[in-house]
């Protein structure tokens, strides 16, 4: 009995000493950051630079694959292993903030001198909001616009400085530019049955006065009818239904499509691959003077509610935000900020394109925000595919989608 007592006391003493020893060495706060950025993208560099500051906070970085971001994060959070900071795709943000999985940053942002809501584009900012509070900080942003092949415009007698501005002009130009004998389609875009299809269609519906809550409005039906006209008249490849944006724009770069709807992520590849004169213009609107709209892509930073170091994690976000001005130059990504002037790269086509995208960003609207966004998105994708394959009229297809979305919204 006596021996056991001493052993317990001894163990306790040892534990106390080692705790003391540990806490003495662990004055650095350790944070973990998860993001999908590879080594040529911002996050790992931001983390490395932050660690060099030696300000008592050390960050450990972990890269996750695009497809795994949500499932990994969910699993980690539900088992109490969540990282402190994560980069999450903007339509999925509300899913986490609505469940209280992300930390409410409203107070910290109001006190911050670095992160100010008024410096951000309204679209990206809205995607981090839930219930009037901020649950994150936009990491970067992108949107879609219309690329067009100026050489083909000239060859078909169109003015290369007057790209189509309205839906009617877009269809009319596409008709003129389509040349089956030369293997050229008028337009390349993506109506794929995944998030990309929603990403491309929703701006059209919004320009027509619709929205995801009101997807069967007259304007949205008209938008889908225009898409159907483009597909039925073979002004775009039938493979548009199963091809993503990257592959579709590939056919534009190789000269097999005269126009393409896609985002700024294409700029670098196009500068290298396209052997013709090209330009970018704003996404065409239903009629002259109509409201503009655009899709908004890219990721947000968020802090998990389970973090033990909210202050330090927010400090890290402040540092990340302070480096936004170098984002385009170093990594080719657009900061979600309206207060940062992006310096020119010296490549005329790329710089001209960038200007259009920055203009288009002003009209970018987030998808949602809604915690059940994947289901809403699926309903929209189903409608697009049903209409374009001719299995339902645009009106019927969108009516069905509206019913499904209504069930989700409750």
């Amino acid at each position: 009995m006596g021996i056991r007592k001493y052993t317990v006391i001894g163990a306790l003493a040892l534990a106390g000493v080692s705790m003391f020893g540990l806490s003495a060495r662990a004055e650095d706060v350790k944070l973990t950051v998860w993001s999908l950025d590879r080594d040529i993208q911002p996050a790992p560099h931001l983390v490395a630079d932050f660690n060099k500051l030696n300000n008592g906070i050390q960050i450990e970085y972990r890269q996750i694959q695009f497809d795994d971001v949500v499932s990994e994060a969910m699993r980690a959070y539900s088992t109490g292993q969540a990282p402190d900071i994560i980069a999450i795709d903007n339509p999925e943000h509300a899913l986490f903030s609505s469940r209280g999985a992300f930390l409410d940053l409203t107070d910290m942002i109001s006190k911050s001198t670095v992160i100010k809501p008024e410096n951000y584009f309204p679209g990206p900012l809205k995607s981090v909001e839930w219930d009037g509070k901020y649950y994150g900080v936009p990491k970067a942003t992108n949107t879609i616009a219309l690329y067009y092949n100026k050489d083909m415009f000239k060859a078909k007698g169109l003015d290369p400085n007057k790209p189509p501005q309205t839906w009617d002009e877009l269809v009319a130009d596409a008709r003129k530019l389509t040349d089956p004998a030369a293997n050229v389609y008028g337009l390349a875009f993506s109506a794929k049955a995944n998030e990309e299809g929603t990403f491309q269609f929703l701006p059209w519906a919004q320009m027509g006065g619709g929205s995801y809550e009101n997807i069967n409005s007259e304007g949205a039906v008209k938008a889908l009818t225009v898409w159907k006209t483009i597909m039925d008249e073979k002004l775009a490849s039938p493979d548009t239904l199963t091809r993503g944006q990257w592959d579709s724009t590939g056919t534009f770069n190789s000269g097999n499509a005269a126009m393409a709807i896609s985002g700024p992520w294409e700029l670098d590849r196009m500068t290298q691959e396209a052997k013709f004169d090209w330009g970018v213009t704003l996404l065409p609107v239903p009629q002259e003077g109509a409201e503009r709209s655009s899709a908004m892509g890219d990721f947000n930073w968020a802090i998990f509610a389970s973090t033990k170091h909210p202050e330090e994690a927010f400090k890290a976000l402040e540092y990340f935000a302070s480096q936004d001005d170098k984002m385009f130059k170093n990594y080719g990504q657009l900061p979600a900020r309206s207060d940062i002037a992006i310096p020119e790269t010296g490549q005329a086509l790329k710089d001209a394109g960038l200007k259009v995208f920055l203009e288009q960003l002003k009209y970018a609207k987030p998808r949602g925000p809604h915690p059940d966004w994947p289901k809403i998105s699926k309903a929209i994708q189903d409608a697009i595919q049903a209409a374009l394959t001719g299995q339902a009229s645009p009106k019927d297809a969108l009516d069905q989608a509206a019913a499904k979305i209504k069930a989700v919204l409750g």
């Binding site: 049955a193 493979d239 199963t242 699926k378 595919q385």
Partner: protein, 300 residues
């Protein structure tokens, strides 16, 4: 104690250990996940309750909801077409090839081995290759059909709802034929040659020999192959992910791909589990057929 030990070393105890080991392994690696899956199909599963077992029970709600969805029956129909089409194609071509190589011309055995290449390739790679072959505007298949004058305009294999399911079936037949051929070759090789000699002496022609000797002797092999084929085609996921993603408009969607899509794209884990349970019933059926047909196996 000693009795027990000796029984384990040599007696009924040994048999029990032999049975218990694989049973325990099976229960851990296959039984538990299966039960968990069935449990999920009766619960309301939410991505934030993934870590717990005790979630609200909803009875058969997931099942009734599933069958209330307009796409459910078409997708089940597609699955049936996919399974029957794939198995029929794989089996017929595989049997044809097996009979062809059975003739045993010089080099037959290593040529037969080369056919296995398709079976060795990962599904995603096969999918990517067929993706190029089936591509609408610049696909190899369209080019060949056009040059030979069979079609005048391009067929959009992946994007035309009338063709998309058959495009995947085509790729799957290519993928599975070699496996069928090898198993059938083994079956053919095990038929004793004197049976044919006797039949020939009795004046049976080639057709009669095939119907009265080859087919009946192959019965158990064929049963095994068809039920294995059912299991393999119900497992086929990679080709759908690589070629059509189930589209357009679910025209090439099948249950196995749909279950994944519901669980991991729409985060509706309960419905994904529900579809899996329905599939388990079919696979169980195939397994029973498989076990029964291999039980009768007598190799001469």
């Amino acid at each position: 104690m000693k009795r027990l030990l000796s029984s384990v070393r040599d007696g009924s105890g040994f048999d029990i250990v032999l049975v218990a080991l694989p049973l325990g392994f099976l229960f851990l690696m296959a039984g538990l996940p299966l039960l968990y899956n069935i449990l999920m199909s009766f619960q309301e599963v939410d991505m934030f309750s993934l870590g717990t077992f005790l979630r609200p029970f909803v009875g058969f709600k997931n099942y009734t909801d599933l069958f209330a969805q307009p796409e459910t029956w078409p997708i089940l129909g597609n699955t049936a077409i996919f399974v029957i089409g794939s198995i029929a194609g794989q089996f017929l071509i595989g049997f044809g090839l097996a009979l062809f190589f059975w003739v045993n011309f010089p080099g037959a055995s290593w040529l037969r081995g080369l056919f296995l290449v398709s079976w060795v390739m990962p599904g995603l790679v096969v999918g990517a290759i067929w993706n190029w072959i089936l591509s609408g505007d610049f696909g190899v298949l369209n080019f060949m059909l056009r040059e030979t004058g069979i079609i005048s305009g391009n067929i959009f294999w992946r994007s035309d709802p009338n063709y998309s399911l058959y495009a995947v079936i085509m790729a799957n037949i290519w993928l599975g034929t070699a496996f069928n051929m090898i198993l059938l070759s083994v079956g053919l090789a095990s038929i004793p040659g004197d049976l044919y000699e006797a039949a020939e002496l009795d004046g049976a022609n080639a057709w009669q020999r095939f119907w009265t000797i080859t087919l009946p002797m192959m019965r158990s092999t064929i049963g095994a192959i068809v039920s294995l084929g059912l299991i393999f085609t119900l497992q086929q996921f990679d080709l759908f992910a690589a070629i059509t993603s189930g589209g357009p408009n679910n025209s090439s969607n099948v249950t196995q791909y749909w279950a994944w899509d519901l669980s991991f794209r729409q985060y509706d884990f309960a419905k994904g589990a529900t579809i899996s349970v329905i599939m388990i019933v079919f696979v169980m059926f195939a397994s029973v057929v498989y076990v029964r047909s291999t039980r009768h196996e007598v190799r001469g």
